[in-house]
């Protein structure tokens, strides 16, 4: 429904057999400090993967490099089979993101914001799509209110609506439930789960919320000081650290306790 005439999917899309995201020896050095240090991973299509790590672990920089907002110092990123950022035009219409580092224009109403992003993504039948999102994400009561006059929870739902406006194949989420009350956060997670199942979409999310990652993710990549500390399913990682929650694993990693010591 959102196929942009300017960015058609190639008929023999080499991306269809490729991972949703393939990162190889990715490194980002700001001045002399490495923010991301030689990481490699591939993310299967239709999966939900969590990037875990403390502050400064490199989660946001990794996601930004995948989106093409930050250029790597070295290494490569492929998204939906296309090299980023060189072939970004081929994939930007098929992906979307939500991040606490960006806002929607505050003076514009929710409807106006969604209409503008819908046009940018060449969404067909935009009015119907906005109505659908308003219904799905419970935005109808404030669709004609300025974005700046919304509560934090409402803003998050609007940002999620913007991220879903083009029905993306790939969704990158940076702290999608940060600053939300438990009820709204749970509601957002349920919506993401439903979306992923219905669309067969791939989600990569960075989060500090271990319950969220346990609940949503098929796979967890733990980053520490820009490097991959561990990479497995939540159950696999917890078993390896002999812990019952990811939060305990996170504390072990953050405090430098290795797997053997944790056991």
């Amino acid at each position: 429904m959102t196929q942009d005439d300017a960015f058609p999917t190639p008929i023999s899309d080499r991306s269809s057999a490729s991972p949703a995201i393939a990162v190889s020896h990715l490194t980002k050095i700001y001045k002399s400090a490495p923010a991301v240090d030689d990481i490699s991973f591939a993310i299967r299509r239709g999966s939900i993967t969590g990037l875990l790590g403390g502050n400064g672990a490199g989660k946001t920089t990794t996601i930004a490099m995948i989106m093409g907002l930050v250029l790597p110092t070295s290494g490569t990123v492929e998204v939906l089979g296309h090299k980023m950022p060189d072939e970004a035009a081929a994939v930007l219409g098929r992906m979307n993101f939500e991040s606490p580092y960006v806002d929607m224009p505050m003076r514009l109403t929710v409807r106006q914001n969604l209409a503008i992003f819908g046009r940018l993504y060449a969404v067909d039948n935009l009015k119907a799509r906005i109505a659908e999102l308003a219904s799905d994400l419970d935005l109808s009561d404030f669709l004609d209110r300025s974005n700046g006059k919304l509560s934090a929870g409402q803003k998050t739902r609007v940002a999620l609506a913007k991220a879903l406006i083009n029905d993306p194949e790939l969704l990158l989420l940076d702290e999608p439930t940060a600053s939300l009350d438990p009820d709204t956060a749970d509601w957002v997670r349920s919506h993401l789960e439903r979306y992923c199942k219905r669309r067969g979409a791939t989600i990569l999310l960075a989060s500090h919320n271990m319950l969220e990652v346990e609940r949503l993710c098929d796979r967890v990549i733990i980053l520490k000081r820009g490097r991959i500390e561990d990479d497995d399913s939540p159950a696999g990682i917890m078993a390896r650290y002999n812990r019952t929650t990811l939060e305990e694993v996170f504390l072990d990693v953050a405090r430098g306790r290795d797997r053997e010591a944790a056991q």
């Binding site: 035009a89 930007l92 580092y101 503008i116």
Partner: protein
């Protein structure tokens, strides 16, 4: 967004124009500000022109050169501000990441900003010209067809400067915002807005003639004082503007790439 992409889709440019149009309509201070300074300018300079014309023979003969210069300068200055402020709105709103991650290409973004500069210019300058007509008996539109050449050349220069300073702000954050408001004033003495180029020392004249607006202001004086349209001046200005626009676009792309390298798009604030 691929830095080198030159794809242009009208629906994306239209979406961006709509975004700025909604913003203007939602904020009466923004609309008022567009007309406030041009109105003050024309009133101040209009009275000065009236006073000088009554007391100096040359200016009496060269009626309208001051007011004409004020209006043309405002086209140049407001054209650049109209471009740059629309760009700054994205920085202030922390919306740049959303745009950079969307299929919007740099050229489409710049074309939308150019269109908005024209819209904002119209809102600010048309009332100014009407005031000049009613209060100071100066019909700006009586310049006729040459006015189109003056207008186009000034707007092209304003876009070139707007593109360049937007790139600087993109790369350096809102700490560089003051450049948006001040850079054009650096051109003012060299562009010979209110006096002929011959007033400048010889070496500065060479610098002045490298700036497209100098040709426009000289052309305006030739038209109002000698009643001659200097087509040659307009053609040279057009050539210089083409070079300036290309250079500013290349600079914008280079600054955007540099912003990506240092991670400035993620922290597009101070």
């Amino acid at each position: 967004m691929n830095d080198m992409s030159l794809r242009i889709a009208p629906h994306r440019i239209g979406a961006m124009i709509l975004r700025y149009w909604y913003l203007l309509l939602s904020s009466w201070p923004r609309l008022l500000e567009l007309m406030y300074w041009p109105t003050l300018q024309i009133i101040t300079w209009g009275f000065l022109q009236t006073y000088i014309a009554a007391n100096a023979g040359f200016f009496a003969r060269a009626g309208g050169t001051l007011i004409g210069a004020v209006i043309l300068w405002d086209i140049l200055f407001r054209g650049q501000l109209g471009f740059s402020i629309s760009f700054l709105e994205e920085m202030w709103a922390r919306n740049l990441g959303n745009l950079m991650m969307s299929p919007l290409t740099p050229i489409e973004f710049l074309l939308a900003l150019m269109t908005m500069s024209l819209i904002r210019l119209a809102i600010g300058v048309i009332p100014m010209t009407l005031l000049a007509m009613w209060f100071f008996d100066f019909n700006f539109y009586s310049l006729g067809l040459p006015l189109i050449a003056f207008f186009c050349n000034l707007v092209f220069t304003s876009w070139a400067v707007g593109i360049f300073v937007s790139g600087l702000v993109l790369r350096n954050g809102l700490g560089a915002e003051s450049i948006v408001w001040t850079l054009m004033f650096a051109l003012m003495p060299l562009a010979c807005v209110y006096y002929p180029v011959q007033v400048l020392p010889h070496w500065l004249q060479l610098v002045a003639w490298s700036l497209p607006p100098t040709y426009v202001f000289e052309g305006m004086r030739a038209l109002l004082i000698d009643h001659v349209f200097r087509f040659d001046l307009m053609l040279t200005a057009l050539g210089l503007n083409a070079a300036l626009l290309l250079a500013s676009f290349a600079a914008f792309i280079a600054l955007l790439r540099s912003a990506r390298r240092v991670g400035a798009l993620l922290s597009a604030g101070e």
